[in-house]
Amino acid sequence: MDNILSVLIFFPAIAGLLGFVIDKNSIRAYGISVAAVEFALSLFLWATFDGTSAAMQFVELIPIVPDFGISYYVAVDGISLFLVIMATLMTLIGIISMSVKNEIKNMVITLLFLEMTMVGVFVSLDVIVFYLFWELSLVPMLYIIGAWGGPLRVYAAIKFFLYTFTGSLIMLVGILFLAFTYYDIVGVWSFALTDWYQLKMGVNVQLWLFAAFFIGFAIKVPMFPFHTWLPYAHGQAPTIGSVILAAVLLKMGTYGFVRFSLPLFPDASVIMIVPIAVIAIIMIIYTAMVAYAQEDIKQVIAYSSVSHMGIIMLGAFAMNTQGISGSIFQMLAHGIVSGAMFMLVGMIYDRRHTKLMSEFGGLALVMPRYAMIFGIMLMASVGLPLTIGFVGEFLVLIGFYKVSPILTILAGASIIVGAVYMLSLFKKTFFGEVTNEENKKLLDIDARETFSLVPLVLIVVWLGVYPTPILKPIDVSVSSMLELMEAKAVKPKTKELIASMRSEDKEEN
């Protein structure tokens, strides 16, 4: 199946269209089936993927607007492959766990369209097509937050949309300028990323372009101080919305950094290491503290997302395989863990229709299974070794240590502050006596909920213990990307820096 990527992209969309004719009562099963097939397809993609090659695989290239260099150009490599799989997985799990009752048909169809855009973002190598999916992903999310969300849902939805939309429009200017630069040098229009990779640009140009892309990506990530849409979006979104948002949509931003900013602007990236790291550290510590101050469980997790995204950002700018691979792995880890966390919060919300910690306490007594899974996810979230959360965080920190020990130590505070808010959340919610009468009769998670959570638990443990199947392809792709960066850097300093980011051992050889 050479065109598996197209199938992956458009299968959910077509399924979504067909979904309009399906009866309301069958739509959930339909959604699950479609998502399952999509997930199976993505697994098939993985199975046929050559993990030892850094090259783009399953390439499809169809010119759409040749005069303007726009083509339908999709492919995967180790960096994007697993994000695709995670997107399909989280959609599947999300639909399974979904507790939405009203307008469920619209929800399922929306989710399927969202899945298309998510897959599309990760596999597009044509920047305009990437941008297309990137923007399009906002629309279903807007609807999900706005239609099924909490009391402030409209505000939150619009804030989410406009904020990210603004950022990406600035990025669009950057894209156009880069395309023009390419045209200026090469004489042909092209929006193909692989063509752009070959482009050597002056440092100033790189810096400006970096800034343009930065705004687009940073808002999506979201990086401090552009993060304030996130708590609203999460706070108001229905569970499924938060799950997808946290698990996949945020990753688009960091993916963008790794896919675009780093290899396109190596010199600028190197120059920006410290500023980005400072922001990342602010994200890590500041938002962790803000998370600690929250009263709403979901807000804690929302802010924790920002904090974790800080780690991912830090890794992306470590300029060595460890850091960047760790960053990508952490994207997956955070996707799984935060997705699960939001699902867990959703489950308690379904039961009690509140997310305030003060309403709870002692849940471990009434809902032991729930508490156990929550605990596992919590441990993954704080980066316990042998869970998925540790591998990424460890690699990021070890990678960035090479760049700056001091900053790494500051960033490493994440393992402390992360534990502080998470444990305090857990204590307030699950420990102590059951003080609230209403909580005494709560039912533990049912079969459907268990069925949606257990796979995630298994993944958390599996990838924590044995991350190699995933780390290996990532490592291969990242190494080749770093070589590319080194080769195309225009400043000798940058070359030196990237070269020096390898461990001493290799340098000696």
Partner: protein, 633 residues
């Protein structure tokens, strides 16, 4: 032999999983029995390995699989059974087995019996990983794993609600658990940094690759690495200033305190220093090592001082643990690694015994821990009295019990290094140790039966539990005699520590001084307490007494200076900065745009006349622009 490694390692894991299967069902005694059996298997495997290694001097090294491989970084799941780790394995598995058996009785009435065994075995597994790993990352896995298990077990009775510090200095089990976890995490950061330094400077995390390369590294690197690793050790071993969690950890069930917070986990820091002795033993890091020794000595004294006045049975033992950890660090810092390890093992035995004894008392006293409310329990609980007495003698360093040999060696080595201040402090501490140990014993088992006021009817522990405790008692009694053999065994791997000629000469005198202090302490305690409790308002209200009984006000200090400001700062960050500045800025921009829309729509008055005026205004403006631009250029 490799299989034995895996058996030793995974038997506790299997035990944990087995217990986990029954976590949702009510108490099943066989869960405890199976768990204990599996632990015993682990012990047997460890012991066999130890025997094998002792016989053949062969280090068994296995690599299970790769864990993280990225770029040049390659971390396998590798395990090594060498002299040091096998010692730890034996100690850990032995104490664990005993504690498991003990727990069957102790947790008898607890509805979470099965869960308890699952956690406990998981802890043992983590501890085994910690000691057996052949690399720093694997060590860190175990390191964090024991942290989590400790969190789970301290907070085992999570349903207890928070109370004020006046009522319970630990506030609640869940609070204590979180405190322990977070404090450990602070230290873990140091540990991680140490790992990073090692990796980037040696290109590996494997012990056998790292240690040979250390010689090539610059002193700065070595010193920072040593400091970073020691910070990690400080957290796990509860060294000042990260010590407060240990006493609060006593909120956990007593077997937990015995296993984790006395015998095994807390010694992980010492183990790390011993394990990394090629680093800490280097000339370049002598300063760090001396600091370790000094800090150890200080903590030994500091903790002992707090134990003098405490009324809580378990906390006294916890302080004593802290104090003994100080001794171990003192030894390790002074380069006497094998002595540190020896004390570690000996301490594990007698301290576990002491704790289990305390558990018996608690069990008998219906979870009452205030020794002022006990007394005369000897009549009701003869075996427990015996065990605790034995353990206390060991702790106090009375020959021929284990503690005498190990502690004496430490104090001797302090003298040997010429650190007379350290030596003096350690000696004084030995006296204090003896005093508070026997203060506790006397107040608990002798004197008047104060418990009667409270309507408690104490009873002896189940027999099988008492029998289960016997290995510890035996070892606490006789382990000291294995000192020379152990030295021979362990110095195959660890550096030898030779007392200087001078010290050797004075050895007996030194021993006598220590012994004098110990006996003095016991006698003082006997003098004061053997007849019964005589409370003196004056003493209890004195500054020193209050200072000590409030742990130098350090927990309060932390609460006031760290926890509260952190919470307040968080709140400020959220409410004032995030909401009022960052988010408000975004909203303000949106509002300004929106408001300017409201403002500018006024030009759209609907009145044609205004529109025409606008048009003419536009014309004027454009004409002016035309004129000006042509005038300019």
């Amino acid at each position: 032999m490799e299989n034995l490694v895996y058996i030793a390692l995974f038997a506790p894991f299997v035990s944990s999983l087995f217990a986990l299967m029954f976590v949702m069902v009510p108490k099943q005694t066989f869960v405890g029995i199976v768990a204990s059996l599996l632990l015993f298997i682990s012990f047997l495997a460890s012991a066999t390995l130890a025997y094998h290694i002792a016989m053949t001097n062969e280090v068994i090294h296995v690599t299970m699989m790769d864990w993280i491989v990225v770029g040049d970084l390659s971390i396998p799941f590798g395990f090594v059974a060498d002299h040091v780790s096998v010692t730890m394995m034996v100690v850990v598995s032995l104490v664990s087995t005993v504690v498991h058996i003990y727990s069957i009785g102790y947790m008898d009435h607890d509805r979470s019996f099965n869960r308890f065994f699952s956690y406990l075995s998981a802890f043992v597994f983590s501890m085994m990983v910690l000691v057996m790993s052949d690399n720093f990352a694997g060590l860190f896995i175990g390191w964090e794993g024991v942290g989590v298990c400790s969190w789970l077990l301290i907070g085992f009775w999570y349903h207890k609600k928070d109370v004020t510090r006046d009522i319970n200095p630990s506030i609640s089990p869940s609070w204590a658990a979180n405190e322990a976890f977070i404090m450990n995490r602070i230290a873990d950061l140091g540990m991680l940094v140490g790992i990073f330094i090692i990796f980037w400077n040696t290109g590996s995390l494997q012990y056998d690759e790292v240690f040979p390369k250390l010689a090539e590294l610059s002193p700065v690197v070595l010193i920072t690495a040593a400091i970073a690793l020691f910070i990690g050790a400080m957290g796990k071993s509860a060294q000042f200033p990260l010590h407060t969690w240990l006493t609060d950890a006593m909120e956990g069930p007593t077997p937990v305190s015995a296993l984790i917070h006395a015998a095994t986990m807390v010694t992980a820091g010492v183990f790390l220093v011993i394990r990394a002795n090629p680093l800490f033993g280097m000339e370049e890091v002598a300063g760090v090592s001396y600091f370790i020794a000094s800090l150890g000595t200080f903590v030994a004294f500091f903790a002992a001082s707090m134990a003098l006045v405490n009324r809580d049975l378990k906390r006294i033992i916890a302080f004593s643990t802290l104090s003994q950890l100080g001794y171990m660090f003192a030894a390790a810092g002074l380069g006497a690694y094998w002595i540190a390890l020896f004390h570690l093992a000996a301490h594990a035995f007698f301290k576990a015994l002491l704790f289990l004894g305390a558990g018996n008392v608690m069990h008998a006293m219906h979870d009452e821990l205030d020794i002022f409310k006990m007394g005369a329990l000897r009549k009701k609980m003869r075996w427990t009295w015996l065990y605790m007495g034995l353990a206390s003698f060991a702790l106090a360093g009375i020959p021929p019990l284990a503690g005498f040999f190990s502690k004496d060696a430490i104090i001797e080595s302090a003298f040997n290094e010429g650190s007379l201040i350290l030596w003096a402090m350690l000696v004084i501490t030995a006296g204090m140790t003896a005093f508070y140990s026997f203060r506790q014993v006397f107040l608990t088992f002798h004197g008047d039966a104060r418990y009667k006021e409270f309507g408690i009817h104490p009873h002896e522990m189940y027999t099988y539990v008492l029998i289960g405790m016997s290995p510890l008692a035996i070892l606490a009694a006789i382990a000291g005699f294995g000192k020379d053999w152990f030295e021979g065994f362990i110095t195959n791997l660890l550096p030898e520590y030779e007392m200087s000629e001078h010290t050797h000469h004075l050895a007996s005198i030194l021993g006598a001084i220590v012994l004098a202090f110990a006996v003095g302490g016991i006698l003082l305690a006997a003098f004061k307490y053997i007849k019964g409790l005589k409370r003196s308002e004056k003493t209890e209200n004195s500054f020193i007494y209050r200072l000590l009984s409030n742990q130098y006000y350090i927990p309060q200090l932390y609460a006031e200076m760290i926890s509260k400001p952190y919470a307040e700062l968080s709140s400020i960050f959220w409410k004032s900065i995030d909401m009022k500045i960052v988010d408000a800025t975004v909203d303000a921009i949106a509002n300004v745009v929106y408001k300017s829309g409201d403002g500018s729509r006024k030009m759209q008055s609907g009145n044609l006349s205004n529109y025409l005026a606008w048009m003419v205004f536009g014309a004027v403006a454009l004409l002016i622009a035309a004129l000006i631009s042509s005038a300019i250029g």
